[in-house]
Amino acid sequence: MMKKLNTEVKIGTLTLKNPVMPASGAFGVEMQDAIDFNQLGAILPKSITKYPQPGNAKPRVCETTAGMINSIGIQSKGIDYFLSTIIPSFDTFEPPLIASISADSIEEFVEMSTILGNNGSVSALELNISCPNLKGDGSAFGMDKSVTNKLISEVRQVTELPLIAKLTPNVTSIQEIAIAAEKGGADALNVANTLLAMAIDVDSKRPLIGNVMGGFSGPAVKPIIVRMIYQVAQVSSLPIIGCGGIMNGRDALEMIIAGASAVQVGTASFIHPTALTDILNEIETYLIEHDIDDINELVGSVIV
């Protein structure tokens, strides 16, 4: 008889039935025609902001070699709309809902975390500390270890929900930031947000993104993310969620072997709308073929 395959992973106190979930900004209720949301490890709607905001100038996306740059600007209808409309739109699905928060200041992160922490439908919070601190010098919260530590520890005071710190890769040492987030009380680390990038049309000499710079994603970034997961796993005992450039099951496995307990898939869904569930199936096939009963055996199993 075949042994039961265990694909369950833990993110703090939250148990996911499998490690595959969408990345913020690349998932919406509209995608339910393409995939069965109930197969996902978690549901993660687009990042929310406190107030409605219009988003950035167009073009908001451009293509690059094996990837893309986006600068959407978190077009959002605000937290009230999220509570009244977005959360209920996922009510009928089983996987836990992780709310991704983007805010302009630590105070706003605290305020939004309090509100969302008191909402029974939210199972965890992902803090997008890669967004700019407008009350500070405008650089991302996650670029500074003491700001990161302060942000996470202040949010920690107001909610019991598992906290996932979504780190920015645009730093000199991601290890320092990971340690700061862990000390602040984070339950998991998302490695990582998009890489700051730029592309120019040489004919018009204009940037290909309306906002000039944007976040780079897609298969081209994957080796950088794998390296960062490996580095973070060296210094932190927190579960890591790998995010950046996963296109198939083997890419996801690479991040798991580097040290990730779970993965997020974003851009791949633009190319293949069934990417999330395809990746999950490919991971399961690998486990069976390699006679691995429990996916947790693979986490950080890289041999160096």
Partner: protein, 260 residues
């Protein structure tokens, strides 16, 4: 947004810059409407990376046709697809044009590859016994590809080009107001492919109180409504509202769209 591997029945160059593709879409479980589009995977490679939205050119019982402008990496890659290959497409996507059978005569104002989008309107109008008048604008006469196709559906076609020095907005305006409005009572204006001509069509729609519809083109990410890359502004009463071209469009009421 279903994904299909559809057999390619024809993929051939029809002019210097344009190619024509016919795809077997008999596996679709829904009908295709003029103005709708498919997200095409130009090649099974990571570069070019993103899918390309292509509007439908002709809609047949078992096949769908695309007329595409070879412009960048994606469409260049598409030219290497051969008859007998399959193409990975998602669709049909978006909201198509409304073509009300009670209309008698409609005006199409198209520029460049927008001609392909409105050719599907001419085809549907013909089937509903609605007469089409079309202004087709292009750089060169050679690029006025669908003219004969439209004429085949009984459309009266006015061709304007840079080559002939006839494509400026003032001349197009004069054709519409002096020639077309003199001859026909237009029930609806359809436009696609040019910001300047769309503005003109919008003015005509407002000034002469004729309803209109516009199909917008935009860079897209997911084309499923998730990523908010392809937004545009529309007027909702006095308020400007940002909408997603992929799922709330690509066809919008002409007078509501804020043309940048």
């Amino acid at each position: 947004m279903k994904q299909y591997k559809a057999p390619v029945l024809l993929n051939q160059q029809v002019s210097n810059r344009y190619w024509h593709m016919i795809v077997n879409t008999s596996m679709l479980d829904q009908s295709v409407e003029p103005g709708q589009f498919f997200q095409i995977r130009c090649a099974d490679k990571y570069t070019p990376f993103l899918r390309r939205p292509l509007s439908v050119y002709r809609i047949n019982e078992h096949t769908t046709e695309f007329l595409y402008l070879v412009k960048g990496k994606g469409t260049t890659e598409m030219t290497t697809i051969e008859q007998g290959d399959t193409i990975d497409l998602m669709g049909p996507l978006g909201n198509g044009f409304q073509i009300d059978s009670s209309m008698k005569t409609i005006l199409l104002v198209a520029r460049g590859v927008g001609v392909a989008t409105l050719a599907a309107v001419a085809q549907a109008a013909y089937n509903k016994q609605i007469h089409c008048v079309a202004i087709l604008s292009a750089r060169t006469k050679e690029d006025l590809l669908a003219a004969e196709f439209l004429e085949g559906f009984g459309a009266d076609v006015y061709k304007v080009t840079e080559e002939d020095g006839t494509s400026d907005v003032t001349n197009v305006q004069s054709i519409i107001t002096n020639e077309i409005f003199g001859k026909y009572k237009i029930d609806c204006i359809y436009t696609c492919g040019s910001r300047r001509l769309s503005k003109l069509a919008q003015e005509m729609s407002t000034n002469y109180d004729i309803p209109g519809q516009i199909a917008l083109e935009e860079h897209m990410g997911c084309a499923m409504g998730a990523c908010f890359a392809c937004v545009c502004d529309v007027m909702d009463g006095d308020v400007t509202k940002s909408v997603r071209v992929c799922i709330e469009g690509p066809v919008f009421p002409l007078r509501k769209v804020v043309i940048e």
